[in-house]
Amino acid sequence: MLSPQVSPPLDTAPPARWFARGMRGAVSTPGLVLVATFIGFGGLLHDLAFPIGAGLLSTLLIWALPAQVILIGGLATGASPPALAVAVCLSGVRLLPMVVSLMPLMRGPRPRLGWELLCAHFVAMTLWVEGFRLLPKVAPEGRPAYAAGLGLGLTLLSMAGTAIGFYLTGALPGPLAVALLLLTPISFAILLVRNARQAVDWLAIGLGAAISPLVANSPGGLDLFWAGVGGGTLAFFIARHLPRQRA
């Protein structure tokens, strides 16, 4: 798919220059959609009375909106933190194949573990998509710094969005405040549909959504765990026993 032979010409710009170029690359349409969803997350934080400093820290450190919503939404419903950590951990699994597939583009010609871990931290849906679009145009020597700059740029924009949403939601008229709060489930639902390719994906979406209200308020705050593991496992086995067919 990607041919390393046709890499761009040698560029001897210092890493700081590549880092700055990466940060500029963050200001794009996908970056702005991301900011909008984090404005929704900020509104959710305010609605659930979660402290803004810790909310901003969750955007910087967790840097995966589903995990952030699972953790903070779960705390608001009184779920136990260890049960939420299990749900967060399960939701983060999708990051592993993303890191594995994008790392060859971010690594550069002289791999260094520190840079790899830093670049991997920024891997989430938006950086994954944008990385495949932008990194092939970057000279291999500059790719680790460019990827880190892109990731930090997206993170800073999203932290600004989180703060804006938090302070805006109290000042908005009713219908607009509600629109802000529903931004997160709306964008998640659309991303689920966008990423669904095979029968197992559609089954997992349907079963996860159907089981979730049935197990709401289950003891120990494990409702997301049951809906995720139960619905996902069921979808996995049903899809394996379906007759093989390709649409």
């Binding site: 450190l61 951990c89 219908p175 509600v178 197992v200 709401a216 996902g232 979808a235």
Partner: protein
């Protein structure tokens, strides 16, 4: 007052119950990335669980909401998300178009019903 309603307590919860269990996958991706086969049966199961979990999060936010969203009727919450998915599929699979359609339906509905959180 619960532990996580203070700024410091909430930060510790974010680090230990959010950051660490999530970041472990990124670190594993770096350390063992070249040896993991993303197409293995084990990874397929893991992907199905992650997808179901995300769908469950959406369903819970929509069906069992908290805070200001309680003021919205269920039909409007579900209708907004449904029209957003329809908008996404119709307008060249554009996420932005889907979000805008859903938000337009929601704001119009909330305004018409006179909802105030």
């Amino acid at each position: 007052m619960s532990f996580h309603s203070t700024e410091l307590g909430a930060m510790l919860v974010v680090i230990f119950f959010g950051f660490l269990p999530n970041e472990v996958w990124r670190v594993l991706g770096v350390l063992f990335g070249r040896r993991i086969d993303p197409g293995s049966v084990w990874m397929q199961w893991v992907q199905a669980v992650a997808t179901a979990l995300l769908a469950a999060v959406v369903a819970r936010l929509l069906l069992v909401p908290s805070g200001a969203l309680v003021a919205l009727p269920l039909g409007l919450r579900a209708g907004a998300v449904g029209s957003g998915i329809a908008g996404f599929l119709i307008v060249r699979r554009s996420v932005l178009a889907g979000v805008l359609v859903a938000e337009a339906v929601l704001v119009a509905g909330a305004w018409w019903l006179g909802v105030s959180p």
